[in-house]
Symmetry: C2
Subunit: 327 residues, 2 copies
């Protein structure tokens, strides 16, 4: 059995917990938390909840730590700290800062003799793999990535910070006409506004100035100003009834040309439709935890990404069985 520990028990940590339960070759041996352990109620019986500053006591008792901290701020600190003692997987998703994060984690892992795999999930992750395979096969072409329809936690949080807002959910929605043009191989040039719209469901304080809130949302730089944004004010009851899920998904499309004169057109499309973003991401993390365990057993060290991992390492079955049944 591969012994898994989870660091951070939020939505993603719970998703990893469920994925471990559904993996026949894995067991959850600890959950590390910064909260008071007495306040953390796991759904897996008999697993200790351990203060994060006592993590080192688990050296030799854990094969892979899945770091489920908040991405933008936590992971650049916590993944290297974990890599100093354990093999570790994270889902670091600030694309622009991946090279820097990779370098830091690689340095620590090489020194400590551990295996780390960063930026695992679906984007970065499965979408990145799709882009890579599609680029390898069709070097002459264009990639497009569309996200949604799904909840963006970052955009929801941004709305919540506006004065007079009690709660909010923001859905990122791909523009169907743009997707259709890409799928047809038109290779259109698309502005940010032409690719996605943003739908906001907002619960305001009683008596709040709704026009001001709507204006603050729609003009917020980076988050909303470059998009066509719609704002719906709803009651707390409606939010709780209709908007508590965390669905997401999207698609990667590459169309490209082959032939002596590039006269032949092909389209590759990969599409995810996810009822729960954190549960799906947790399942991807767990597949890569299996790969990290195997690389560590072979004596490998250092930082990796999904690009460096042979796909067979993700599966519990051996090579002969995979060739017979999946190839």
């Amino acid at each position: 059995m591969i012994r898994i520990a989870i660091a951070g028990y939020g939505n993603l940590g719970k998703g990893v917990e469920a994925a471990v339960k559904n993996a026949a070759d894995m067991e959850l041996v600890a959950v590390f938390t910064r909260r008071d352990p007495a306040t953390v109620k796991l759904r897996t019986p008999g697993v200790p909840v351990v203060p994060v500053d006592r993590m080192e006591e688990y050296c030799g008792k854990v094969d892979v730590v899945v770091n489920c901290g908040g991405s933008a701020t936590d992971l650049p600190e916590t993944t290297p700290a974990i890599a100093a003692h354990f093999s570790v997987i994270d889902s670091f998703d600030t694309h622009a800062r991946i090279p820097e994060h990779f370098a830091t984690v690689d340095g620590v892992s090489e020194k400590a003799g551990t295996v780390s795999i960063i930026s695992v999930g679906w984007d970065p992750g499965l979408f990145s793999l799709t882009r890579m395979y599609a680029n390898a096969v069709l070097p002459n072409g264009n990639d497009y990535t569309f996200w949604g329809r799904g909840v963006s936690q970052g955009h929801s949080d941004a709305i919540r910070r506006i004065d007079g807002v009690l709660d909010a959910r923001q859905y990122t929605v791909p523009v169907e006409d743009a997707v259709a043009r890409v799928r047809a191989g038109e290779n259109p040039e698309l502005s940010v506004r032409e690719k996605h719209t943003r739908e906001c469901y907002v619960v305001a304080e009683e008596g709040a100035d709704l026009a001001r809130i709507e204006n603050e949302i729609k003009t917020m730089p980076n988050y909303f100003a470059d998009y066509d944004t719609t704002v719906h004010f709803i009651s707390m009851e409606e939010l709780r009834e209709k908007h508590m899920g965390i669905p997401h998904g999207g698609c990667v499309i590459r169309s490209g040309n082959t032939g002596m004169d590039l006269e032949t057109k092909h389209t590759i499309e990969y599409r995810l439709q996810l009822e729960s973003n954190p549960e799906f991401t947790g399942s991807v993390l767990i597949a890569y935890a299996r790969a990290a365990f195997r690389l560590a057993k072979k004596g490998e060290t250092g930082c990796h990404t999904v690009f460096d991992i042979a796909p067979a390492l993700l599966m519990p079955e051996d090579g002969a069985e995979l060739r017979a049944h999946l190839l």
Copy 2:
């Protein structure tokens, strides 16, 4: 430059030739043929056409041979013969015989110290990879593979063997309603007949008994008897005008569940739409030739499949560039 040789200059060989032309880090150095070399006209200037029995003269002058022989009969003989002297890629696609072919090629490659990668293309190949990643992430679920709309060479050949048939094209067509049910996550049980239909365009000899030909097609065991098949008799002119392309494609869909009680549903879909099956397959072969070249340089030996190849090995760029731009 990676030095590529092509063994067999049919449709697939021509597809590989075009893919090499479009790869900045590769050059075509020879085409091996069983035909009279004088009758083989390449589209790449200055490349020698060499009788296959003189292949060994190219030891040390070729990095990877891409074996483009006819799959079902040729490759089990020719890939091991090539592997005794060169790193080699093939597109062996008789799924049931892959384990046997793998064992033979692996034995030869290990002994000769060469690298081989078999069953490369889109199915087996990119579709197999999609199935594997989807199974790794969603171990609880069901896979479905649909092929088409596209030309099946084997089925077209089977029609051509019928008495009174001058030429024919057979299109495999997925049943759209079945695809829609799978995409919606219904996990339906689908018979062979419910997944695909077969469309035949047939040129008959003048005065041939069309009713007999149609009946012979529709009742042909394995090829057509289990399917809803339509037969259209057309003129040679119409066949030449409308049915000379070799388009293909299809999709892999896996829907599966996550969560502590498997209560959450997800769908993964991968879709190819190809104007030319051999050109696209040739492009996949060439990406894996790059991987074989790199494995050989690292001193690895033996037989591999797409499952064993880390995706970064397929790309000309180095790891840092890939992380910065594709992850």
